[in-house]
Amino acid sequence: MAKITYLQHDGTEHVIDVKSGLTVMEGAVKNNIPGIDADCGGACACATCHVYVDPAWLAKTGTKSSMEESMLDFAENVEENSRLSCQIKVTDELDGLTVTLPESQH
């Protein structure tokens, strides 16, 4: 279990307990947090679960696969700390993580 803060683009904050084993994307979708579309449900096929990871947490969220890297390369408003949240598995280690959501997923 990890407490994850999802910060919407407009500043609205959602703090959610996400079960270990789920992904950061699933934590958002299952709680109906606006701003993460996740059209493909976590297959790394759509790049609509883009988030900005708090830079202090980047190392703990793991490295990007080449597929993720490649999908992100063509998403909009990508930054150094951009990730596809369906590719970040939640562990106890991620307790306290904050991710910020982009204005749009297109």
Partner: protein
């Protein structure tokens, strides 16, 4: 819709219906929402059923779109195990299979599609399965394992995904396809050839031009598939994946215009009744970038139409910029398809199919209509935006994989 907080009745608790319910709340809808589903469980993802779930890599929790508690917490009256048997549009009421009646102000039909069954001898034998629901997948999972013989009838995407998952689970897999190539209805020849080779390398056997005439069984369980040429293919189980039929009977019986699907406008609203919407696999809908109407069976379509209907009901602006897309996972191949190959006059190959990393662009003049990208996210992502913005492309650059997709689209 004079009522400011109308009661929205959603018929169907699949990907489309479940998403519409959640989006209505997300968009601030305050009126009652009732969602009727004929399956025992809350809305879930169907795509993993033939892929990760079948291989045991996903559990029921991850399959669920949202946890069951979500619906109660959000004041969504979700009623499983019950279906709507008829509609009375005049009285704005629906009759349910449990004998009750429920009224509505706004109706969303999200009844989906059902797998087409083969009307042939032995089709009711045990071990002949479809793959549409979680229950179907559960039954299939119990049948497939090391040394088991699995026959797949139909070489479409579902059939191929099942074949790949079956091989991963150690089963012997044969795919029986009526046409002379797999994916005949949905993909171009180079893509069919690629998948044929790739599956064969992973031990899948194909029998093409095979006309299935019946099933043989013993003690009520299937033991073989009979072909029109007299052969019988021995098997322990069968998956039939020969397409789906929209569940539009309810709408038809209620006098709503249908054309293999409920005919709707750009808001997913029925062209017959402004208080009725139809979304997902059951809708026959306009797609402006191709200037035509058709029915799609894909998750992105279900989600987009859920957004359209929820937006229209809550008075939000209609979502824009839609490029239809879909994906398929087979072995370690990720296929991403953007658009549909309508009115195509040229097929352009980018990359080498031998490397399992290439893309096929379908062109109309110098515009991209569709792209099939194999392990090629840049081609898919850029292809999607090229389809949407209708920008003419330089074919020589597009055909040259050493020119980046960003440069092609520049």
């Amino acid at each position: 819709m004079s009522n400011a907080s109308p009661h929205v009745l959603i018929v169907g608790a699949g990907h489309a219906g479940g998403t519409a319910a959640a989006l209505l709340r997300q968009y601030g809808h305050e009126g009652p929402i009732t969602m009727i589903g004929d399956e025992p469980i809350a809305p879930y993802q169907r795509p993993p059923l033939s892929k990760a779930w079948l291989k045991g890599e996903a559990d029921a929790d991850s399959l669920a779109l949202r946890p069951l508690e979500f619906y109660g917490q959000n004041n969504i009256d979700f009623r499983p195990n019950v279906s709507v048997t008829s509609l009375n549009r005049g009285a704005k009421a629906a009759a349910l299979s449990d004998g009750s009646t429920i009224g509505y102000d706004v109706l969303i039909l999200a009844t989906g599609a059902r797998a087409i069954a083969l009307p042939i001898e032995g089709a009711d034998l045990a071990g002949i399965l479809f793959l549409r629901t979680a229950a179907d997948a559960e039954a299939l999972k119990a049948q497939v394992g090391p040394g088991k013989k699995l026959a797949v009838v139909g070489g479409g995407y579902i059939g191929l995904e099942v074949a790949a998952s079956g091989r991963a689970l150690g089963a012997d897999v044969i795919v029986l396809e009526r046409e002379s190539r797999i994916l005949a209805r949905v993909a171009c020849e180079p893509l069919s050839d690629f998948f044929t080779d790739y599956h064969q390398k992973h031990g899948v056997v194909f029998d093409l031009g095979a006309s299935v005439s019946g099933f043989e069984g013993k003690d009520g369980h299937v033991t073989g598939v009979k072909l029109a040429d007299g052969r019988t293919i021995a098997c322990d189980s069968v998956v039939v994946g020969v397409g789906a039929h929209p569940n539009d009977e309810l709408a038809k019986d209620a006098g709503l215009e249908c054309a293999r699907g409920v005919v709707v406008d750009l808001d997913a609203r029925s062209v017959t009744d402004p208080d009725v919407f139809a979304i997902g696999d059951v809708a026959h809908r306009p797609m402006p970038i191709y200037d035509r109407m058709f029915r799609m069976e894909s998750v992105p379509n279900a989600l987009e139409q859920a957004k359209q209907a929820a937006s229209a009901i809550t008075g939000r602006a209609r979502p824009t910029g839609e490029c239809p897309w879909q994906w398929s996972d087979q072995f370690d191949i990720k296929l991403q398809i953007a658009g549909y190959a309508f009115d195509v006059d040229e097929i352009l190959l980018r990359g080498d199919p031998g490397s399992a990393k290439f893309a096929i662009f379908h062109l109309k003049g110098d515009q991209v209509q569709s792209v099939e990208a194999i392990n090629s996210p840049p081609e898919f992502m850029m292809g999607k935006s090229l389809i949407l913005n209708r920008k003419p492309i330089n074919k020589a650059k597009l055909a040259d994989p050493s020119v980046s997709m960003k440069e092609v689209a520049a």
